[in-house]
Amino acid sequence: MADELKFPDPSARRADRDSDALDERTARVIREAYLPPVASSEAETAYWNALESRIMARVASADPAQSEQGWLSVLSGWAQVGLVAAAALFATAGLLSSQLGDTEEQVAYESVMTSTPEALSAPAQLITSSDHSVQRDAALQYVLSY
């Protein structure tokens, strides 16, 4: 069915080329130099048929989605490495965080325990100082009453 299809040949495409283009003879010689090296028109037909077969053999052995899967498999490979690395990182971070948390709790506990007397002495001083001021006020009032 495909043999019946007709496409414009290069000479038709060249019809509207600009005036500066290479002349027809030169273009033809170049074109012939760039055709596959076959000896005759029969050999040329056989050549294209054989090439088509080789192409289709390669196509048949290639999975249609191979390139996609190839990229995906590459990506999934990297993704796997990334996931393992991320999991290890999280585990390490969790462990460190947990250890640091314990240490912080311990430090906080110890600081509270050791700072209690100081913490308690401040109000005591306040109370003491408050007592002094009361006595001072009372003495002042006593002196002023005379």
Binding site: T26, Y34, V59
Partner: protein, 178 residues
């Protein structure tokens, strides 16, 4: 551009996994696609490799093909990419081999052997991209925009490359003209 109904049907069937339909597309487009690869690589065997790579890539990417565009234009872009990949992977052979590869002694018996030899030698002296552009444009009839898309360069750059390639080729062949 109007897309032939037959091609549309082949693409639809190929997208559904019909390898026979894809074979029809190969039959339709392999000649022009080969010439695109050959314009870039110049060596026949390399062009064949790029062509096969290109068709396999196209088959694998069929689900991403937009049916509103022509299959040939899409395919040629893929084949050109495969050819450019190949040029990057291999540092293509030396000028002597290139010139030999460009010769085609069993073709055009009526054509001037001198012209053929001088042309192939002159083409071999052009920078790789300039040679691709002049072959694609003046020989194969692609537009600057199409060439730009295939080679991954702006259309204006393709136009400029073409201008310089023509100048150089004319300079090299001036004693043959007339």
């Amino acid at each position: 551009m109007r897309i032939p109904d037959e091609e549309r049907a082949l693409v639809r069937a190929a997208k559904a996994g019909d390898q026979e339909a894809f074979s029809g597309l190969v039959r339709l487009h392999q000649r022009r696609a080969y010439l695109v690869a050959r314009a870039i690589l110049t060596v026949h065997e390399d062009a064949e490799d790029a062509l096969q790579d290109g068709f396999v890539r196209a088959f694998q990417a069929l689900d991403r093909f937009d049916p509103a565009q022509t299959f040939g234009a899409w395919l040629n872009k893929i084949v050109a990419n495969a050819a450019l990949d190949l040029t990057r992977r291999r540092k293509v052979r030396n000028t002597e081999e290139l010139t030999d590869a460009l010769r085609s002694p069993f073709r055009d018996p009526a054509e001037s052997a001198e012209l053929s030899e001088r042309l192939t030698a002159a083409l071999a002296t052009l920078p790789e991209r300039a040679r691709s552009v002049i072959v694609m444009h003046d020989v194969e009839g692609y537009t600057h925009v199409e060439i730009g898309e295939m080679l991954g360069i702006p259309g204006g750059t393709a136009r400029s490359d073409l201008h310089h390639a023509r100048q150089k080729l004319r300079e090299l062949l001036k004693d043959l003209r007339g």
